[in-house]
Each structure stands twice: as structure tokens, then as C-alpha cells.
């Protein structure tokens, strides 16, 4: 969990840049702040020491890495790839080798969630399944069918008793940990569109986060798509009440920036952070959450593809399409 912090979004500034060989796809801050892990358009997990910039690349996936999670003590990294594999890595080893390789899904893993109590790891993917794994042994605890399209993202409730998942069509399911049948919480229609010109669906929650008190679920993506194949649509964050599925508010950008919300986080100072990428460029957004438009935004050097808030809440790591991992100071 992110510690209390006191930051000033208006003072956000670039801190460090780390260049990799390929465009990045995801990033994740180790809960003990020792490392930042990245996925890129290669088949490797990259472990970067933000203090010294040293990088170690870990090979065991057979495709790009899309998702990360960490055990609560930070000693195990979970990575999920487009190869459908969930891999457990010992974080601190000098040259980590996989502790477990699980063929978790048929098709892509799109997201990983670790329960706040540290006991479970949940994954979701293109096989339309949500799966729950024992965080230690890696055994499959439950397989949860119930989505009719690719499952794009998921997150646990703060008490670890509920799992929320969202699919391509914007359908948000709530899964009680002691039940195998989902309750459809809401269908966020703004998160999905069918492009009749190109005859294809576009949408899904590309990012997900929970407010600090657990009382609001944020789902980020693209909306008002007028050309799916050119990515012409606006960024969106839908704020949903996880208790009753009511759509509280949709966050957007003042100037209707085209793109997709690829990263989301709730900051302990009481605001939402969002990362965008797309034809409108890369932006870091700051929303208070009580009004639709941002109170501040910062243009980035390149399109964002992934975001992770540092454990102390004073920095944010961003994965970019121009081969760079960048950290920004919020102080």
C-alpha cells in the first residue's frame, strides 16, 4: 500500500530516464522501493535499480509482458504475459530465475491483482476467464467463468473479499471470494464501442484502481471512438460505486484529448492520477474526483503505456513507447 504523502502535482517534474532496447509495455514499482520492473516489446522482464540505474533482464516468458504484481513483503514478483503464463520470481536474487511457471490462460494474460491480505493472486485474460491462484504455492484456487468477452482488468477490494473484473464490453463483474458466480455490477457503456465502419469492437478497462477508502472503483479506457483503427477517441475514467454499481462520474480531459487511459492510481493525498497515450500524445492527469475535468495535467515526452506509483507516493514511474522508463517526482 502507498504510504501517506504530501505532494504538489503542479511541481511534477522528470526525475530519471532509463533507456531500454524496445518500446515498453508495462511497469511496476517494488513495494519496498528497491526496483522498478518493466515489460517491453521483447520477451523479458527487466529489473531496474532506480538508485543506480542497473538493469537485469529475466527470460522465461514467450511473449511480451503485460502485467505485474508483488507479494506483500516484496519478495515475490508475479508477471503475466501475452503467452498466457503467470511466473513467480524471487525478487531479491542477484539474477532471479523463475520460482514457478504457470500456464495460466489460453491466450493473453491482461492483468494481475494481488489480494491485500497477500494470500491470493488473480489473473484475467483473453480466454474470458478470471482465475485465482494461491500466492505461495501457485495452485489454482478457483476458475471463474462469467465474462462473455476478453477480460481486460481486475482488482481486489480492500478487505480482499471481493474481486472486480471488467471486460472488453465494459461489463464489470463482482466476485465474492466464496462464490463462483459473478454479480454483474454494471456495464459501463462508455468503455466500449463497436466501429461499424471497421466492424470491430474497441474498449475495455485498460487501467483500474480503487480509491483509498475502497468506496470507488476507477476504470480507465477510451470512449467516443469515431475510428477504432486509427484510435480516434477520447480518454475516459469511469468512477463506479463498487457496492451498487452506480456510475458516480466519468473523468475526462478539458480539451477532449484523443487517446487511451493506460494507467490509473489513487494518490494518498486524495486525487486520481491518470496516464494517457494515443494520437493526442502522452499526458499525466490529476483529477480531484468530484468534477469531471482535471485540475492539472503534464505533457510527457512520449505516449504512456503503463504507470506505477512509488510506495511512498512521491514518485511515479511511467512506461513509454519510445523505449524509455521515466520517473517523475510529484514533490
Amino acid at each position: 500500500m502507498t504510504a501517506n504523502a504530501s505532494v504538489d502535482p503542479q511541481q511534477t517534474k522528470l526525475l530519471q530516464e532509463y533507456k531500454l532496447d524496445r518500446p515498453l509495455t508495462a511497469c511496476h514499482w517494488d513495494p519496498r522501493s528497491r526496483f522498478i520492473f518493466c515489460g517491453a516489446e521483447d520477451f523479458l522482464v527487466h529489473r531496474i535499480d532506480p538508485a543506480g540505474g542497473q538493469r537485469i533482464s529475466l527470460a522465461a516468458h514467450d511473449s511480451w509482458i503485460r502485467a505485474f504484481g508483488s507479494s506483500s513483503d516484496g519478495e515475490t514478483l508475479y508477471s503475466g504475459g501475452y503467452d498466457g503464463r503467470l511466473i513467480y520470481w524471487p525478487t531479491s536474487a542477484e539474477k532471479p530465475e523463475p520460482a514457478r511457471i504457470i500456464e495460466a490462460h489460453q491466450g493473453w494474460i491482461r492483468a494481475i491483482a494481488v489480494s491485500p491480505d497477500g494470500r491470493s493472486v488473480a489473473t484475467c485474460g483473453n480466454d474470458r476467464l478470471v482465475k485465482v491462484w494461491d500466492a505461495d504455492s501457485g495452485t489454482l484456487v478457483r476458475e471463474l467463468p462469467g465474462h462473455a468477452s476478453h477480460v481486460y482488468n481486475l482488482i481486489y477490494s480492500l478487505d480482499s473479499r471481493w474481486l472486480f473484473s471488467c471486460d472488453l464490453k465494459g461489463v464489470v463483474n463482482a466476485w465474492a471470494i466464496d462464490s463462483e458466480r459473478p454479480r454483474t455490477l454494471v456495464t459501463v457503456e462508455q468503455l466500449h464501442g463497436y466501429d461499424t465502419t471497421f466492424r470491430a469492437d474497441i474498449g475495455g478497462a485498460r487501467s483500474i484502481a480503487l480509491r483509498g477508502d475502497g468506496g470507488q472503483l476507477a476504470l480507465g479506457g477510451i470512449t467516443k471512438v469515431s475510428n477504432a483503427f486509427a484510435g480516434v477517441g477520447e480518454i475516459i475514467v469511469a468512477l463506479v460505486n463498487p457496492a451498487d454499481g452506480k456510475l458516480d462520474l466519468t473523468l475526462q480531459s478539458k480539451d477532449k484529448t484523443t487517446g487511451t487511459t493506460w494507467g490509473l492510481a489513487w494518490h494518498p493525498d486524495g486525487f486520481w492520477l491518470g496516464l494517457s497515450g494515443g494520437s493526442g500524445g502522452g499526458w499525466l492527469y490529476f483529477w480531484k474526483g468530484d468534477t469531471a475535468e482535471e485540475f492539472f495535467r503534464l505533457q510527457l515526452k512520449n505516449d504512456g503505456r503503463g504507470m506505477s506509483l512509488s510506495p511512498d507516493g512521491k514518485q511515479v514511474a511511467l512506461a513509454h513507447a519510445d523505449n524509455h522508463l521515466r520517473t517523475y517526482s510529484l514533490v
Binding site: 518500446p23 516489446e41 471497421f198 474497441i202 483503427f229
Partner: protein
């Protein structure tokens, strides 16, 4: 009869008047003559027509990615997230998005070395389907028209050139009907939309059989008198189309996939493309010489990988089922299969996970008839940015398709005293691909 309306469901109405306006009168002015007005110095004609050769062309509109289909480059800087999977031919791998097609690879071959030097949709469609470089003022006949002209038996009661596609409403990079250019409107395409049979219109009930016979006899008498004084391609085509429209009404069942066994309909699936493939099988079984099935859209500048999962997920199983069915029913030996696109997609992945237009190094699949099965022709470099062996283009593919169904593509059509090459004479067939 109802009048043809340009939009809405009425486009499916298949009245004799609509048929005539679409296939004949709409093309008046560009047509040469028909019947004995057209002669050919090629070795086309009867012995080829008697063999019942056919062409099935699957056109993946928008530009399918060669890296996500026929020429995967996993774990390279351009390869994307997908893996390559083995196929039924040892040593040949294709993208994991095509698991059903992979099992039919022993019936197909891949040409991995297309360099068409073009990234324009409309130009790509024209060049891939005419085999000629597009030139201002030049109108070359579509592959379907050439095929119909060369393979359609003289007494054939169905259209020789059928296009199966989605209803208008998508992008208009392809004209709704394929031009036959100088071959004449008789060989233009007849379009069928959305997997549905055309809505045939019966003769109005108030016109009795006897009256129908009388009015047709009158029409023929007037036509004959007109023809004695002034015989043109248009009048020939008009008569042909009128007769064909009547024959179509009698053969309407050919277009009804609901007549196929439920098990077959299930195997092809509920997607529109699945229905289109089943209809294609039905038309080919009934001897239609050229059937083109369009599938759209692959123009994935944004999130190429998500959209290829979606689109190829629709394509893979019905296409593989169709290939297997043609083989099982003994039709593959006489049916040339082609899977083409207007171009491929850039090896470089853009910042929104898209791939852009690319005509420099991409792939086409051929199979059936006289195509050597299980072959790979040509090669690209390690990350797919250039052809390194046996570069070919649309002209070579056009020649190869025609020669695979027994047409001498190096010959000429002689039309109204002028000669027109069957295919681009500066190109030739990919000889090593022909058995």
C-alpha cells in the same frame, strides 16, 4: 417489379430490372462485344471450360498483417506478441492466431515475398485483383471477370463472377461491383450481401403463365428485329442478362445456405464470414467459376494485435473448414484458393501498438487446383523488413492463379479488332509453385 433502391435492405432485392441495371446497363459504354464479337487467341475456351475449374478468392480488406498470419517473426523487434505455431507441413510455421488453418497447411502454399511497392488502399485493391499496375485512364478487367470469361461454360445458368461481402456501410475502398472492363458487362460481378440470399422477386400474380410466354415471345421478336439492323455489345449483354435473370430465378436455391445441413451450418459458425464461406462452398459446388469472399477490416493502425485477434478469430475456423470441405468433396483439385489483401502491414510497430500500410515485403496464400501444396515461395529477412529471395508482385500472382486453373495467361483477348493481354506481359507465373 420493385425499383432498385440505393440503400437499406432493399439492396438485397433481386429483381430482373435491378439485375439488368447492375450487370449490364450500368456498364454500357465501356463494354466491348460479346459472343462471337469477342474471340480469343488464347488456349482458353472449351477444353478449359469443360474441366470445371474454379477460383475462390478470399480478400482480407484493409491490409492484413503478414506477421500476424503467414510470415511470423516472433521475438524480433518487429515480431509483436504472438508466437509461431507448427502446421501440418513439417517446417512451416504460421502465426498462432490461425490454429485451424495451420491444420490445412498441407493443402495450401505461402508466397512470402510480395513486393508491390504500394501503400494505398484503392490502388492495392485494383492492382491485386487486376494483376496490372494502376494507370490513369486504363481499366483492366478484374480477376473474377477474366476467370469467368475463360472458365464459364457457354450454357451456364448462374453468374460466372460472384462477390460475397458485407452490405455497404463500411469503407468504400472497393467498388461495389468488380469491373470487367473490355471483357464486357456479362463478366462483371454479381454481389451478394451479408450471407443472405438475394431477395428474388417472383412474377406478379396477375401475369399468368400464358401471358408471360406471350410477352417473352414478343420481347424476343422485337429484340431479334432490332439486332438484325443494329447488333451491339449492349444489346447482346442485355439479352444475356435477361435470360440469366430468368435462369437465376429458377436456380434461387443455389444461394440459400439454409438448405445446408444443420451440422454444416454449425461447423461454419454464426459469424457473417462463416456464412459467407458456406455460401461460397455452395456456389463452387454448383460450378460458379469465380467466387470472392471479402472479410473486413484489417486496417489496424491502432492496436493491431487486439484487432487481429478479433478479425482472424472470425476468419480462421470458417476458412479452414472451407478448405477441408473442398478437399473432402473432391473439389480442391479443380478449385484454386487464394487469400490476398491490398497490401501487408509495417513490420515496425507504432506507438499505439498499430501497424501501418506496407507493400514492401508481405504474403499471399495459394492452394488447390495446380498449386503445389505445402510449399513456401520466397523469403523475407529476419525481422520482415525486406524480401531476400524471389521477389514477386501482383502481376506474378495473377498469372499464377490463371495458369493454375488452366488458362494461358500469356495469351491475348481479341476484342473488336484490338488485342488485350490476358495478364501483364511483363510478368509471368511463379512456375515453381505450379505442378
Amino acid at each position: 417489379m420493385k425499383r432498385h433502391r440505393p440503400c437499406g435492405s432493399a439492396v438485397h432485392d433481386f429483381s430482373r430490372r435491378a439485375f439488368l441495371s447492375r450487370t449490364t446497363l450500368g456498364s454500357v459504354g465501356m463494354a466491348a462485344g460479346l459472343g462471337d464479337i469477342i474471340t480469343s487467341r488464347t488456349a482458353i475456351a472449351e477444353q478449359v471450360q469443360a474441366k470445371n475449374k474454379r477460383v475462390l478468392n478470399i480478400f482480407l480488406h484493409g491490409g492484413v498483417s503478414q506477421l500476424e498470419t503467414w510470415d511470423p517473426k516472433p521475438n524480433t523487434d518487429t515480431g509483436g506478441p504472438f508466437r509461431a505455431i507448427p502446421t501440418s507441413v513439417p517446417g512451416i510455421h504460421i502465426c498462432e492466431l490461425l490454429p485451424f488453418t495451420a491444420k490445412q497447411m498441407h493443402r495450401l502454399s505461402i508466397v512470402r515475398s510480395l513486393d508491390t511497392n504500394n501503400g494505398d488502399h484503392a490502388r492495392g485493391v485494383v492492382e491485386m485483383t487486376t494483376g496490372h499496375r494502376r494507370m490513369p485512364g486504363a481499366d483492366f478487367p478484374h480477376l473474377g471477370a477474366v476467370t469467368a470469361r475463360c472458365l464459364m461454360p457457354k450454357t451456364f445458368s448462374l453468374p460466372g463472377h460472384v462477390l460475397i461481402r458485407s452490405s455497404p456501410g463500411g469503407r468504400n475502398v472497393e467498388s461495389e461491383f468488380h469491373s470487367a472492363a473490355y471483357l464486357g458487362p456479362r463478366f462483371s460481378s454479381m454481389a451478394i450481401y451479408d450471407g443472405n440470399p438475394p431477395k428474388f422477386e417472383d412474377r406478379p400474380g396477375e401475369i399468368t403463365d400464358e401471358a408471360d410466354v406471350r410477352r417473352n415471345a414478343f420481347r424476343e421478336r422485337v429484340n431479334e428485329r432490332f439486332s438484325r439492323r443494329r447488333r451491339t455489345a449492349e444489346t447482346e449483354a442485355y439479352n444475356f442478362s435477361f435470360d440469366q435473370a430468368r435462369e437465376l430465378l429458377a436456380n434461387r436455391h443455389v444461394f440459400e445456405i439454409s438448405r445446408e445441413p444443420a451440422g454444416d451450418q454449425e461447423r461454419y459458425g454464426t459469424s457473417q464470414f462463416g456464412k459467407h464461406c458456406l455460401l461460397a462452398r455452395r456456389l463452387l459446388e454448383n460450378g460458379v467459376p469465380y467466387v470472392q469472399v471479402n472479410h473486413a477490416d484489417y486496417d489496424t493502425h491502432h492496436e493491431n494485435f487486439d484487432f487481429h485477434i478479433e478479425q482472424l478469430g472470425e476468419f480462421d475456423q470458417p476458412f479452414a473448414t472451407l478448405v477441408a470441405d473442398l478437399a473432402d468433396r473432391g473439389l480442391l483439385a479443380d478449385t484454386l484458393i487464394c487469400v490476398m489483401s491490398e497490401f501487408g502491414r509495417t513490420p515496425q510497430i507504432n506507438k499505439t501498438y498499430g501497424r501501418d500500410h506496407w507493400g514492401t515485403a508481405w504474403s499471399v496464400v495459394l492452394g488447390g487446383s495446380s498449386i503445389q501444396p505445402g510449399a513456401v515461395i520466397g523469403k523475407t529477412n529476419a525481422n520482415g523488413t525486406a524480401v531476400t529471395d524471389r521477389a514477386v508482385d501482383h502481376g506474378h500472382i495473377f498469372h499464377t492463379i490463371l495458369q493454375a486453373v488452366g488458362v494461358d495467361s500469356t495469351g491475348e483477348f481479341e476484342i473488336a479488332g484490338r488485342t488485350f493481354p490476358v495478364a501483364d506481359p511483363s510478368r509471368g507465373a511463379i512456375a515453381e509453385l505450379l505442378t
